[in-house]
Symmetry: C2
Subunit: 493 residues, 2 copies
Amino acid sequence: MFETLEVGKRITADDYGSLQKRLRDRLLQAQLDLAGRDYPVIIVVAGLDGAGKGSLVQQLNEWMDPRWIETNTFWEHSDEEESRPYFWRFWRSLPARGQIGIFLGSWYTRPAQAAVNDEMAPEEFALYCKQIESFERLLTDDGALVIKLWLHISQESQRARLQDDSPHRKSSPRSSDHPYEMRGVYQRTLEVSEQLILATDSSHSPWQLLEAEDRYYRDITAAELILDAMLYRASREPAGSRAHIPATETITGRQPTVLDSVDLSLSIDRDDYDSQLEHYQAQLRDLGWQAYQQKRSVVAVFEGWDAAGKGSAIRRVTRAIDPRLFRLVQFAAPTDEERAHHYLWRFWRQLQRDGRCTFYDRSWYGRVLVERVEEFATPAEWQRAYSEINRFEHQLVDHGVIVLKFWIHISKNEQEKRFNSRKKEPHKQHKLTEDDWRNREKWHEYELAVDQMVSHTSTRHAPWTLVAGNHKPYARIQILQTFCKTISEALQV
Amino acid sequence: MFETLEVGKRITADDYGSLQKRLRDRLLQAQLDLAGRDYPVIIVVAGLDGAGKGSLVQQLNEWMDPRWIETNTFWEHSDEEESRPYFWRFWRSLPARGQIGIFLGSWYTRPAQAAVNDEMAPEEFALYCKQIESFERLLTDDGALVIKLWLHISQESQRARLQDDSPHRKSSPRSSDHPYEMRGVYQRTLEVSEQLILATDSSHSPWQLLEAEDRYYRDITAAELILDAMLYRASREPAGSRAHIPATETITGRQPTVLDSVDLSLSIDRDDYDSQLEHYQAQLRDLGWQAYQQKRSVVAVFEGWDAAGKGSAIRRVTRAIDPRLFRLVQFAAPTDEERAHHYLWRFWRQLQRDGRCTFYDRSWYGRVLVERVEEFATPAEWQRAYSEINRFEHQLVDHGVIVLKFWIHISKNEQEKRFNSRKKEPHKQHKLTEDDWRNREKWHEYELAVDQMVSHTSTRHAPWTLVAGNHKPYARIQILQTFCKTISEALQV
């Protein structure tokens, strides 16, 4: 999830100057328009400590007309609040229709903090998340526009920022020893944050995850997201579920995606490859039987660019496993029968029983990749799919299934080379279609889709592995190695 | 909740004959129409053991064309099912678009049964319910029409029916010693059922609670509800949340409501009244202070017919409590500021702190009473309100608040008498307005609204008390007595 937020998205100071001028007018205009409308805008600013939540809110107040914005913080627990149900404090701070309420510290703060400090049982935490989801649904059912921003910075940046002892920082309650703070427990905080975000990333009030390393990028993008959500909401009455991911790139310029963090120069020499292939395949053979004995299933998903080497990589895996123990299923366009059911149905039905492996050559992620880019699915459909997929995989994991997900990445140049070589070799020509060239034109759209897919669905229990695929042997070893490591850890052998 | 389902709704054998003939054609027509549509219909038949779920399903299969219906039972756990995630069995049984799938035994069965047998921790059960809600939302988001019927019978009927040892019954797996059965634990089953229904009574797939005592009424009404939902869904594309409660009364004729179970002949004589009034007021005075010391709040809601004697009953309560400890809030039409917020906001903000009482003279129930009947709220809004209100009250109860809810009932004749006497007495004339006479014309609509309100919101933790109000002194004593009993039980004094 958070790997997409440490890729170096940024804006130069010059660009910032000119962008902010334009932004400001449009924000004021949107605010003016909102004043005449019959719904409130509720902005939740959350995220890691030191990511600049306070500065962002200050900036928003500066850019917009503060007369129609109320900023709410919940640093101090007043006894007025403590002696009423927890949500009372939020209810009484809700903005009126036509107004904007910014929540810096919100209904997310207490459960996040309690979970990080291990003061809340996992079931209680899970119920809390559900309660939040219901609360937000109640607001959006009533017409409210709920915008939730999550600000992320890397562990190193956090450390550096929190050690900054400038006078301004010292006097801010934010960096005091306040119980809302979550410093010094970076990894645990990420764990809890992931759970919190997954459980509340609904189509009626989706999370927007933001890389907050560069303050120019952070502020401009946050404001653009707010503006975009407001314009979108204003354009459709009556309110429905919001299914729209704004293309902030049109404003901020092209930004790196999580795929840029994959080192495509990685390779492995022939001898190493042979010995490692043998080693991991032997290990995987054993693990396959051990999983069978422990009645643990394996579900592995293979996705990647055309010509990324999916098929040959899968073969290196399946060769290692007894054919009685696995099933490889391929997915192209759905059949009539499949089309007559929910899109997840065709994947559910292929699921093998306990102790068996199911390998999916293309998978349910088609919903948020090809169906999104080719507009086979509406924005509402593919955006909703993130949480549907997370729930589906959660059920698998809950049942004891070991879930692996691979995206095999190659560079655009490498793809061209492979396409051309396919053209030349007669026995490979059938693998190259018109579609492949067409998909290639949408390379960047796919990059964005992959970035968001990883952002929304790479979870602790079912993480994505981004495979460096330019050198095929390297990719195969990376995949086999990931298989062995994940399965042996899960089986505790 | 279930008190509305033991009021004697029934249809005569003659009526049944003529009704079923008409029904049958319309059901077939709806089915034919469905075949060409791109969504499935999923019917869940649940309810108490012995309520006739199996017979109903058989009847539905007889009335409709069985070629487009699949009935699914989940009596036996196959090992195919056990070795995959729990929901796999339901996924693979889901009907295709254009078809009807009836689930007799469904995703509700296992958690209900586990909870009744105390094999599942409360938190786990709560999470399960949430998982069900998400599953159903996923189906309805995809366009599916989900119809959920809950069949209720009284404890006496259940006992009688389950003791029936006719050969047909003996060989039915339903009445075997099967683990899905929930016999012999009637009260515990009701408790669990209430939780299950409350947690999954959503606007996208609402529960329809059915009195199943009389099989004619049960079958006709169930079929009408299904038909109505199908016609309604067919009439609006694309699918949205279903917000529509069918008026089956237009078919089955006027049926008794829960208000008919209130014995309005009850009265109390003058001497008794005086001594009991004194007794309970003294007790309540003490309890007020004890609640203060224990930091427990009391929230009491007063609703009732015009001229039911709400005001004078409230005064008998407030006189008993130290004015420093309570606040009485009255609600008429909302102010501008209130209108600019969610309808629950104005009730939240009046909430007094721990140890204090808040008395609401009219309340959030206006949403499902006057706002429903007068069409100030859309069907979507007031139907959604049931679960919103339940969640709100649940938060109160969770925080330790003691919740009391009174509906003061009088007969239509008694109301007329009181209106006329108001007309005559100068100091009471101001209490009688044009609205009062107008509301009176909608008496039966209000009766239906009260019946459904009690059905959806009378919960174990915040039950409705239906007060027999024809004799004012009796009503006052009933209210005071309920106050004393509820508070002393909650404080354990």
